[in-house]
Assembly symmetry: C2
Homo-oligomer: 148 residues x 2
């Protein structure tokens, strides 16, 4: 049974390791993560810490959280980025509905292995795998017909 480190500790030790300060703003942003759904936008995160923390700092902290391995940026085909927490989560892919924008997750061990093999052959050091399907979800199809 593998035990995952507490995100707060991960972040604190990341900051220390990088010689960065532990500030109110950074802790507020980290804390806000717990109150957001799995997938969120920068603006939603800001909503939770605003106006205590500025948008600029939210973006700056989001970058640190990514470097610390606690958050990952994900693209759902919209103009702005989405993010997801990476702690307490299994590897997964996303099924993104182009109509309603909702996202379903699914396990990806098998697919992931294929990407790993390709990387290996290429001598590519693989840091992250993204597996996503785009289409129309069951609900939208029922409501509006198969359409595009």
């Amino acid at each position: 049974m593998e035990r995952e480190a507490d995100p707060r500790e991960v972040f604190l030790s990341f900051l220390q390791r990088e010689g960065l300060n532990v500030t109110r703003s950074r802790l507020a942003v980290l804390e806000a993560l717990a109150h957001l759904p799995k997938h969120f936008e920068a603006a939603e995160l800001w909503g939770l810490v605003r106006p205590r923390v500025s948008a600029a700092t939210v973006y700056r902290t989001l970058e640190l959280l990514q470097r610390a391995g606690l958050v990952r940026k994900v693209e759902f085909g919209e103009a702005h980025a989405h993010y997801e927490r990476t702690f307490g989560r299994e590897d997964h892919g996303h099924l993104v509905c182009r109509r309603c924008g909702r996202v379903w997750e699914f396990p990806t061990e098998a697919s992931r292995r294929a990407v790993e093999e390709a990387a290996q052959e290429q001598g590519f050091f693989l840091k992250e795998v993204v597996i996503q399907g785009y289409g129309v979800c069951a609900g939208c199809r029922a409501r509006e017909g198969p359409g595009v």
Copy 2:
């Protein structure tokens, strides 16, 4: 042996089907596709038709090409979008080097099947599958060490 339709015909019949005009600008953009690498940016495409065609029209046409199924928007983790031709190509995933930005392709039948299964279970109508790995390519590792 399956024969793929000529992109020009695909585009023309798409335009007709949608009641859209066949214009010089649209044909110029379609033609320019052949002179671009597999992956390109909107600005590169514009470079080939500029100033005959305006940037606005390039974006507008790019959208039509996507709807016609000739082009696909792909995200490589940069601020701006990339595009790739979809005709004359096998299914493939991308290995994106976070250092140099170069992209390698690899076959994805197996992984794709897994996504299809997940979609099936979800009653999700799958339109497109994206499989990408991010990391550091062999060249960059040799040049600068394993690093991040």
